[in-house]
């Protein structure tokens, strides 16, 4: 397929999915809608995470910081600036935070970057806690005026479509290529003319803006938000997990993983909870070991491949355990000695 065909395909898939998601509230029960909603939340978070972190291999654990900041903006501003206003402002504040954070830490790579983003998230969380306590005398906030559930759903859906559309486009622009180059070899990319610092900061801010917007939108569902809940590092971890399981360098991987994850979680959760979480853990490990490219890399071929691998493994074990192997080796040795 030519790049143009691919673009058409991707856009068609996106429209198809968006249309389907749009129709969900009309035939699905409220539960299906709320499941779709949390699924969409992770679609936005993980596909935008993958957009920057997957391509550049900067493992950011700051998603929950942006999410939380968005949530707080929405909690503070919903009454004064309205729904759209607080989403936009949430995105803007998160992006601004990302720019500041990025300028401070984006020169460090790998482990250090991951640790720093994590540390900064915690720092922000504690700072917000402290500030709330000092200034307002309490830590949490109750959101009383909230929009309709349908509005929240549509907003997050719109964000998801926007996130995926951004991913589709970015992959085709020089910006996306620059991100990939930074991931492959930053200095080399620089010497080939990529203004790495700008690209990184911009990419980081883009990710943050989406996370902030989602945070702003989701806050209203929780009625009461406090730093521990909205800056919960597990929001960040889960985002990373979904993106990596889906395939952090792929376009549809995070989406796929978010859907699979939500469905699996919902169906398994109702039965034995601990076993479900254990199954999830085991599945995660198996997935990493046998599907390292992520869910998006799953093809019929890989299934066949596993089959063959299993058979060869089994044949080898039989050969080994039956003692044939030792015998053959012995025979070979003797023959060689004869020569």
């Amino acid at each position: 397929m030519t790049p143009r065909d691919l673009l058409t395909r991707d856009l068609l898939v996106l429209f198809g999915l968006a249309g389907w998601a749009l129709a969900v509230p009309h035939y699905g029960s409220p539960f299906v809608v709320s499941m779709a909603l949390s699924c969409l939340m992770y679609v936005v978070l993980s596909s935008t995470w993958a957009l920057f972190c997957g391509a550049t291999r900067y493992l950011s654990l700051a998603t929950s910081a942006f999410f939380g900041v968005g949530a707080y903006v929405s909690a503070l501003g919903l009454e004064t600036i309205g729904w759209v206003g607080s989403i936009v402002l949430g995105a803007a504040v998160a992006a601004a935070l990302a720019v500041v954070m990025g300028l401070a830490v984006l020169h460090l790579r790998g482990t250090y970057f991951a640790m720093l983003t994590f540390g900064m998230t915690e720092l922000i969380r504690h700072a917000v806690t402290y500030w709330e306590k000092q200034v307002t005398g309490t830590v949490g906030r109750v959101l009383t005026v909230v929009p309709e559930d349908g509005v929240v759903y549509l907003t997050v859906l719109a964000l998801a479509v926007l996130a995926l559309a951004t991913s589709i486009l970015v992959r085709r622009t020089r910006f996306g290529l620059a991100l990939a180059g930074i991931g492959a070899d930053e200095v080399r990319a620089q010497t080939l003319g990529v203004p790495t610092r700008w690209v990184k900061t911009l990419g980081f801010a883009l990710t943050a803006a989406f996370a902030g917007a989602v945070g702003a939108a989701m806050a209203v569902r929780w009625t009461y938000i406090d730093p521990v809940t909205v800056f919960n590092p597990f929001i960040g971890f889960q985002t990373v997990l979904i993106a990596l399981i889906g395939g952090a360098t792929t376009l549809w991987g995070p989406l796929l993983a978010a859907i699979v994850f939500s469905l699996l979680a919902e169906t398994l959760r109702l039965s034995l909870p601990q076993l479900y979480m254990m199954a999830l853990g085991a599945l995660l490990i198996l997935c990493v070991l046998y599907l390292p490219g992520g869910l998006a890399s799953l093809r019929w071929g890989s299934l066949r491949g596993w089959g063959t691998a299993m058979r060869t493994w089994w044949t080898a074990r039989r050969y080994e355990w039956s003692g044939d192997q030792a015998r053959d080796e012995q025979r070979l040795k003797e023959r060689r000695r004869a020569v």
Binding site: L123, H126, G281, L284, L289
Partner: protein
């Protein structure tokens, strides 16, 4: 402030710091040396704690006796996990970055597995027992006997590790192995032995830490995460792979927190320790004791 209260403050900071260091040592082997960001570290620590608790309250086994036992149990578990997961991971990852990312995911999987296994077996209730809690006088100040024991053992283990890694090439061998697997094989390192060994050792140390901590703190299946985080902070502060660094980093963190709690508000404790952490990382990314790396 009197000299006496200074002493008390510093000592309690150092004791907490030693606990931090103890928690960090195992992870330092795994992450500092082997680049396995074992986010499930705290969960394995929890296993060690539960094993000790169960043995003590169930059969009356002395927690002291459980120190070597939980080390062996967890180390064996580590070898098993390595065989099942990390062996394949090392063999199939194209480079260190990818290995690290995948290792992180496996560790997440382990976290879910272990945490919920514990909650399945022991239930989600908080647990604890009473052992060696009687205060001991030390230079005019009082400290719980079990905490002193934890601190002493933490120091002993850290020093033993430092000396051991210094005297043998094992630590360097593992680091080498991660930097260039081919190079490591070329100098004759049995990579398929050394790697599991270090991983198992890391888990064993987590087991020891868990065993000791169960004497002082309450335990629950979900208790692991804060310990993993603390451990990560400590080893980042000290410099990845430096056992001495982990010890110093832990002690530093403990003292900073104790002083911070005393002179400002305890609420600022986390703010303070994360600020120190970020400051150190920004000014000395290689940690306080790591060596600078320029390319």
């Amino acid at each position: 402030m009197s000299l006496q209260s200074w002493f008390e403050l510093l000592a309690s900071g150092l004791i907490t710091g030693a606990i931090y260091a103890l928690v960090a040592l195992g992870l330092n082997l795994q992450y500092g040396l082997m680049r396995i960001l074992n986010i499930a570290h705290g969960e394995f620590l929890m296993l060690g704690a539960y094993a000790t608790w169960a043995a003590h309250t169930g059969w009356g086994v002395s927690p002291l006796l459980m120190i070597p036992v939980s080390f062996v149990l967890l180390a064996a578990l580590g070898l098993l996990i390595h065989r099942l997961a990390f062996q394949r991971l090392t063999a199939t990852s194209p480079n260190l970055d990818v290995f690290e990312a995948r290792g992180l995911m496996v560790a997440f999987g382990l976290m879910f597995l272990v945490q919920n296994f514990a909650s399945l077996v022991w239930g989600a209730d908080l647990r604890g027992y009473d052992y060696l809690t009687s205060p001991v006088s030390l230079g005019g100040a009082q400290f719980a006997a079990n905490k002193l024991l934890v601190a002493a053992l933490a120091l002993a283990i850290a020093v033993a590790l430092i000396v051991w890694l210094q005297r043998t090439l094992l630590g360097k061998g593992v680091r080498a192995l991660m930097q260039s697997p081919v190079g490591a094989r070329l100098v004759g390192i049995r990579t398929e032995r050394l790697h599991p060994l270090m991983f198992g050792l890391g888990l064993g140390l987590a087991g020891v830490a868990g065993c000791l901590l169960s004497m002082t703190y309450t335990i629950a299946p979900a208790m692991g995460e804060p310990y993993s985080v603390t451990a990560l902070i400590v080893i980042t502060l000290g410099g990845f792979g430096h056992m001495g660094g982990a010890l110093a980093g832990g002690l530093l963190l403990g003292v900073v927190e104790a002083l911070g709690m005393h002179f400002t508000s305890p609420s600022l404790k986390s703010l303070l320790s994360y600020s120190v952490f970020i400051l150190v990382l920004l000014t000395r990314p290689q940690g306080l004791f790591g060596r600078a790396l320029k390319t």
